[in-house]
C-alpha cells in the first residue's frame, strides 16, 4: 500500500505553495465585503485607571462615522465576559481568582491598550481619526507592572476578587520528599532563573471581518484563528453573540499563529456585535503597534530552584518556586500554561524521585499572557537545563556525563509530576548530537578562536516536552473546560478523488501536503487526487484546531481512524463485485485487487459503484464517506538533544551562534522537509528568546518595546544554518507513531544558547536575552571577580 513518492516519509514539495509564492493567498485582511465599514478601537493610554466618562460627540459628528459603541452598550446587550477555559485551584482547594474581563471596559482599564470603545466608520483612516476624537476621562490609579512587585504587601490591587493580585497558589509533587532529597544531597545547585517575556509576532497581524445578515439573523466571521470551531463555540456559548447554527467562522489562510491566534480576543467579539448594531460588515485589522499591546504575550516567569545530587551525580531532590505573570486578565488557556504545561515537565529527561514545584500566578497591569510556542514547556526546559549545566560545572563533570547519569531509560516511566513518558532513547539523541556537532573537536576550535581574540563556548540542552494534548477525560479532570480530541471526515467522490475534512488548522504547517501524504500512502493514490478542507465551520463539523503540536498526533490520527472505516467499506464493495473474500482484497497502484488474480477494480470504479449503488452488498448504504473522532490515550513526548556553539567578542559582548546542532525524536515523520522546516523556525524563535527578544514595561506599565524599532526580531544575519538530525523512537500511543515537531525547536534551544555563552565567558550569571550589553556586563563582572581573587 505504500506510495514511496508521495507517502509517509517522502519529501513532497508543498501543494499549498503556489498560491503563496504568486501572491494569491487569501488572508483575512484580503477579504472585502459589500457595504464594509471599518472598526478602530479607543484604547487606554494608562496601565491602570478608572474610566470616569466617555464623550463620543465629536467623533459621532464626523461625516462617515457610522457609530461609536462602548462597553455599557455591549454589556447591555448581554455580551458575556471573556473566559478562561481551564480552572486551576490553589493548593488549599480554593478556586482561582478570576477577575471579570469585558471586551470593552466599562469601569476600569487594567493595561495600556485595554479598549473602552470602538468607532465604526466608512474608511479605516476615518475610523482611526474618529477614535482619536473620542474623549475619555480617566482617573489614574497606582500601577503594578512587575509580577514580583505585584505580590508585595501594599501593591495596588488590579481586581477586587484577587486579594494581593494572587490568582492561585498551586503546587505539584511531594514537598516533604523533595526536602528530604535535598537534605540528603552531597551537593546542592541553587539558581534564580528568569524566563523573559516575549511577544509571539506572527507576521500576519490579527484581523476580523464580521457580517450580520439581518434576514437570517446569521453571522459570518472571517478571522485569523488557529481554531475556528473553538472560536465559534466560545463566541456562542459564553459571549452570547449568536447560537452556533447562526454563526459561521472562517479562518482562511492564516499567516502564522505561534499560540497568539488561539484566543478569542475582544476585537473579534466587538466586530461581530458591531456588525449587528450597525447592520454593516465590520472589518478590523491590527497594525503591528496594536499587536504588541493586544496579542497575548508569552513566558514571563521568575523562579528559584534547588537541585540536590549525591556523590555519584544522581539527582536526590529538586525543588522549584515560580512566580508566573498572567497580565491584567486571564486569557483563554493562561491558567494551564504555568501549571499543567510547565510544572509537569520539570522532571526533564531525568529519573527524579523527589520533586516539588510551587507556582503563584499573578495579575499585573500588562497585556494578558498565554501560550506562546511551547507554552510552559520552554520555561520548564530552560530551568532544568540551566540547572543541569550549572551543576555539572560545579561538580566538575562533563555536562553530557551528568545528564547521562540521570537519564530515564525504562519506559513507560512515571514522573512525580503526573506525566507518564511512553518512549524515547535519550542516549541516542545525545550521541547523535555530539557526533554531528563534533564535540570532540571543540577544544581545537576553541583554541583557534582564542587566537582570533574570540571566546568560544559550547552548551547542551536535553529537552523533553509533551504534545498532542491530550486524553479529554484526563485534561477534564485537571480543570480543562473542553475536550481535546480531533475530528476528521474522509469523502471519496464518485470519480475516486478524495477530500479530507479536518478540524486541525494550517497556518504554515503544510497540512495540505502532509495530510494528503497519509492518504496517498494508505490508498496508494496520486497526491494530486487528495484535497484537504479546513478552517470553515460550515464545511467541517467540528474540531479543536492546531496548537501544542497536535495536528499530527491527534489530527492525523482522526484521519487514520476515518480511513480505516472507508477501507473496510471499500473491501466489502470490492469483494462483492469481484466475487472474492474480503481477506483477499489488496489496495495498491490505484486499484482494488484480488490477490493472486488479475481481477481488479480501479479506485474510481469503487467510488462510482458506491454512489450509483446498483450493485452493492445487501443492506449496504450507498456512498463512500466516513468520519471519526479521535481522543488521544496519552500526551506524546518529543525529546532530543541540542548543542549550541558560540563565539563572543570580548570587546563588545557581541555573540555569534556559529553552530547549532539538533537531534530530535519526533516518532514517525511524514515529511522530513516540512519537519526540518518546523525545527528551523522553532530554533530561530528560541535563539531569538535567548539573545534578542524581550517585552519591557516601565514601572508605570508603559510598553517600552512596542514596535519593531524596539522589540528585536531575529533577522537572517542573526542566525546560522542549522544542523538538524533525527533519532526517533515510535510513539506507542497513536496509530502512526507520531510525537509532534512544532514546538521542540523553541523549547529546547534557549538553554543550549545560554549554556554556550556562559561557558564561553566563564560567568554563569547571565539572563536572557543575551544582548551584547548583557554579555559584556557579565564578562566585566567575571573579570572583576577574577581580579579580586
Amino acid at each position: 500500500m505504500a506510495n514511496g513518492a508521495t507517502g509517509i516519509g517522502a519529501r513532497v514539495k508543498r501543494k499549498e505553495d503556489k498560491r503563496f509564492i504568486t501572491g494569491k493567498g487569501k488572508y483575512t485582511d484580503d477579504v472585502r465585503m459589500e457595504n464594509q465599514a471599518y472598526a478602530a478601537f479607543v484604547r487606554s493610554p494608562h496601565a491602570h485607571a478608572n474610566v470616569k466618562s466617555i464623550d463620543k460627540s465629536a467623533a459621532l459628528a464626523m461625516e462617515g462615522v457610522v457609530d461609536v459603541l462602548d462597553g455599557h452598550q455591549l454589556t447591555g446587550d448581554e455580551i458575556g465576559n471573556i473566559i478562561c477555559g481551564w480552572a486551576v485551584n490553589s493548593k488549599d482547594g480554593s478556586p482561582m481568582n478570576m477577575g471579570a474581563w469585558s471586551a470593552l471596559a466599562t469601569q476600569k482599564v487594567r493595561y495600556v491598550g485595554d479598549a473602552v470603545a470602538v468607532v465604526i466608520a466608512d474608511t479605516q483612516q476615518l475610523a482611526r481619526i474618529a477614535a482619536e476624537a473620542v474623549e475619555v476621562e480617566y482617573e489614574e490609579l497606582p500601577v503594578a507592572a512587575r509580577a514580583d512587585k505585584a505580590l508585595e504587601a501594599g501593591a495596588p490591587e488590579i481586581h477586587d476578587n484577587a486579594p494581593g493580585n494572587l490568582i492561585y497558589d498551586w503546587e505539584i509533587g511531594d514537598e516533604t520528599k523533595a526536602d528530604a532529597g535535598l537534605a540528603a544531597a552531597s551537593h546542592i545547585t541553587e539558581m534564580e532563573i528568569t524566563n523573559n517575556r516575549l511577544s509571539p509576532n506572527p507576521m500576519e497581524p490579527r484581523s476580523a471581518v464580521a457580517t450580520y445578515d439581518e434576514a437570517e439573523e446569521h453571522y459570518t466571521l472571517y478571522t485569523t484563528s488557529q481554531n475556528p470551531h473553538v472560536a465559534r463555540l466560545v463566541l456562542s456559548a459564553f459571549y452570547n453573540v449568536a447560537p452556533e447554527h447562526k454563526l459561521r467562522v472562517i479562518a482562511p489562510d492564516v499567516g502564522g499563529g505561534f499560540g497568539a491566534k488561539i484566543y478569542i480576543y475582544p476585537e473579534e467579539i466587538t466586530c461581530l456585535w458591531a456588525s449587528m448594531k450597525t447592520n454593516r460588515s465590520v472589518k478590523w485589522t491590527s497594525d503591528r503597534s496594536e499587536a504588541f499591546i493586544t496579542d497575548a504575550h508569552g513566558r514571563d516567569h521568575i523562579s528559584t530552584a534547588k537541585m540536590g545530587f549525591d556523590e555519584n551525580g544522581k539527582i536526590t531532590g529538586f525543588k522549584v518556586d515560580t512566580i508566573a505573570n498572567l497580565g491584567a486578565y486571564m486569557s483563554l488557556f493562561s491558567s494551564s500554561v504555568p501549571t499543567y504545561l510547565y510544572a509537569t515537565l520539570l522532571s526533564g529527561q531525568y529519573d527524579i524521585q523527589n520533586l516539588h514545584a510551587n507556582v503563584r500566578a499573578v495579575y499585573t497591569n500588562t497585556v494578558p499572557v498565554d501560550a506562546y510556542r511551547g507554552a510552559g514547556r520552554p520555561e520548564a526546559c530552560y530551568l532544568i537545563e540551566r540547572m543541569m549545566e550549572t551543576a555539572a560545572r560545579e561538580l566538575g563533570m562533563k555536562p553530557a556525563e551528568l545528564r547521562a547519569k540521570n537519564f530515564v531509560r525504562q519506559f513507560p516511566h512515571e514522573t512525580p509530576v503526573i506525566m507518564t513518558y511512553d518512549s524515547g532513547d535519550f542516549d541516542a539523541n545525545l550521541a547523535q548530537a555530539e557526533a554531528a556537532a563534533d564535540v570532540a573537536g571543540f577544544p581545537a576550535r576553541q583554541g583557534e578562536a582564542a587566537k582570533r581574540g574570540k571566546m568560544r563556548g559550547l552548551g547542551y540542552s536535553c529537552y523533553i516536552e509533551a504534545c498532542g494534548i491530550a486524553p479529554s477525560a484526563a485534561v477534564g479532570g485537571l480543570g480543562a473546560g473542553v475536550g481535546l480530541w480531533e475530528s476528521a471526515e474522509v469523502r471519496v467522490n464518485p470519480v475516486g478523488t478524495i477530500e479530507i475534512l479536518t478540524g486541525s488548522h494550517s497556518h504554515g504547517q503544510g497540512h495540505e501536503t502532509t495530510f494528503a501524504q497519509i492518504v496517498s500512502e494508505r490508498f496508494d493514490l496520486p497526491i494530486e487526487n487528495v484535497a484537504i478542507v479546513h478552517g470553515d465551520t460550515d464545511k467541517v463539523q467540528f474540531g479543536m484546531g492546531t496548537y501544542g503540536s497536535r495536528s499530527g498526533a491527534v489530527g492525523m490520527s482522526a484521519i487514520v481512524k476515518a480511513m480505516d472505516k472507508v477501507e473496510a467499506k471499500v473491501r466489502k464493495i470490492a469483494a462483492h463485485q469481484l466475487e472474492a473474500s474480503e481477506d483477499d482484497i489488496v489496495i495498491e497502484g490505484g486499484e482494488v485487487k484480488v490477490a493472486g488474480t488479475d481481477k481488479a477494480l480501479g479506485w474510481h470504479e469503487i467510488g462510482l459503484a458506491a454512489y450509483t449503488a446498483h450493485n452493492l452488498p445487501p443492506e449496504m448504504e450507498p456512498g463512500l464517506k466516513e468520519s471519526a473522532f479521535y481522543d488521544p490515550s496519552n500526551f506524546t513526548f518529543p525529546a532530543g538533544c541540542y548543542i549550541c556553539e558560540v563565539e563572543v567578542d570580548p570587546d563588545t559582548g557581541k555573540t555569534e551562534v556559529v553552530q547549532f546542532t539538533a537531534s530530535d525524536d519526533f516518532g514517525t515523520i511524514i515529511n522530513p522537509m516540512i519537519v526540518e522546516g518546523q525545527v528551523h523556525g522553532g530554533l530561530a524563535q528560541g535563539i531569538g528568546q535567548a539573545m534578542m527578544e524581550q517585552v519591557i514595561y516601565d514601572d508605570d506599565g508603559q510598553l517600552i518595546t512596542g514596535s519593531y524599532m524596539d522589540y528585536t526580531m531575529p533577522r537572517a544575519a542573526d542566525l546560522p544554518f542549522y544542523s538538524v538530525h533525527h533519532a526517533s523512537t515510535t510513539c506507542p500511543g497513536n496509530p502512526l507513531g507520531m510525537k509532534g515537531c512544532g514546538e521542540a525547536g523553541a523549547i529546547g534551544s534557549p538553554p543550549a544558547v545560554i549554556n554556550a555563552i556562559t561557558d564561553a565567558i566563564g560567568n554563569n550569571n547571565l539572563s536572557m536575552p543575551a544582548t551584547p550589553q548583557n554579555v559584556w556586563n557579565a564578562l566585566q563582572a567575571a573579570s572583576a571577580a577574577q581580579a579580586a581573587e
Binding site: I21, Y27, M203, R715, F721
Partner: protein
C-alpha cells in the same frame, strides 16, 4: 485628490488618489493586488516590498502620488509565464511556511540577485543574509530562504 498614471504589472493604470495614500494601500485596496502584505507600521518587516522601476522598495513607505509615471511590479506580476525562478526556488527549497512574508522576500530576493549579477558579485549565503536585513520571517528561521535565494541566483 491627485490623478496618477502608472504601469502596474505591465498594465497602464490611471486612478485618483489622495495625497496621503500609501503605495501599499493603493495596490491592495484600489487595485486589489492583495499579494503585497502589511506586517508592520515602522517599515521594517518587508512584507510589502514591490519593485518600482526595477528596484525593490517598501510600498508602505512610498506615497502613491509620488511615483506618478513609474513602472511597478508586484508579486502577482513577477512571473513571465508560470513561475519566476525565485518563486520556483522558494517552493523547491521549502522557503516558506505561512506565506505571509513570502511575497516581500521574493521581491527583495529578485532585486538582490539582479544587482549582484549586474555587479559580478557572488550571491553568498552571507550576502543573502545581509541583503534580507529588511525582511522579517517568523516561520522558517531563514535557513531555507537563504538556500532558495542562492539557488535562484544560479537560474536567473
Amino acid at each position: 485628490m491627485t490623478k496618477i498614471n502608472m504601469t502596474v504589472n505591465g498594465k497602464a493604470v490611471t486612478r485618483e488618489v489622495s495625497g496621503e495614500t500609501l503605495l501599499s494601500e493603493f495596490l491592495r485596496e484600489d487595485l486589489r493586488l492583495t499579494g503585497t502584505h502589511i506586517g508592520c507600521d515602522t517599515s521594517q518587516c518587508g512584507a510589502c516590498v514591490v519593485h518600482i522601476d526595477g528596484k525593490a522598495v517598501k510600498s508602505c513607505t512610498t506615497l502613491a502620488a509620488a511615483i506618478d509615471g513609474a513602472e511597478v511590479t508586484t508579486i502577482e506580476g513577477l512571473a513571465d509565464g508560470d513561475l519566476h525562478p525565485m518563486q520556483a526556488s522558494f517552493k523547491e527549497h521549502h522557503g516558506l511556511q505561512c506565506g505571509f512574508c513570502t511575497p516581500g522576500m521574493i521581491m527583495s530576493g529578485v532585486d538582490m540577485v539582479n544587482r549582484y549579477k549586474a555587479e559580478g558579485r557572488d550571491v553568498t549565503a552571507e550576502a543573502v543574509r545581509h541583503e534580507l536585513e529588511g525582511n522579517i520571517c517568523r516561520c522558517t528561521g531563514y535557513h531555507n530562504i537563504v538556500k532558495a535565494v542562492q539557488d535562484a541566483a544560479t537560474k536567473m
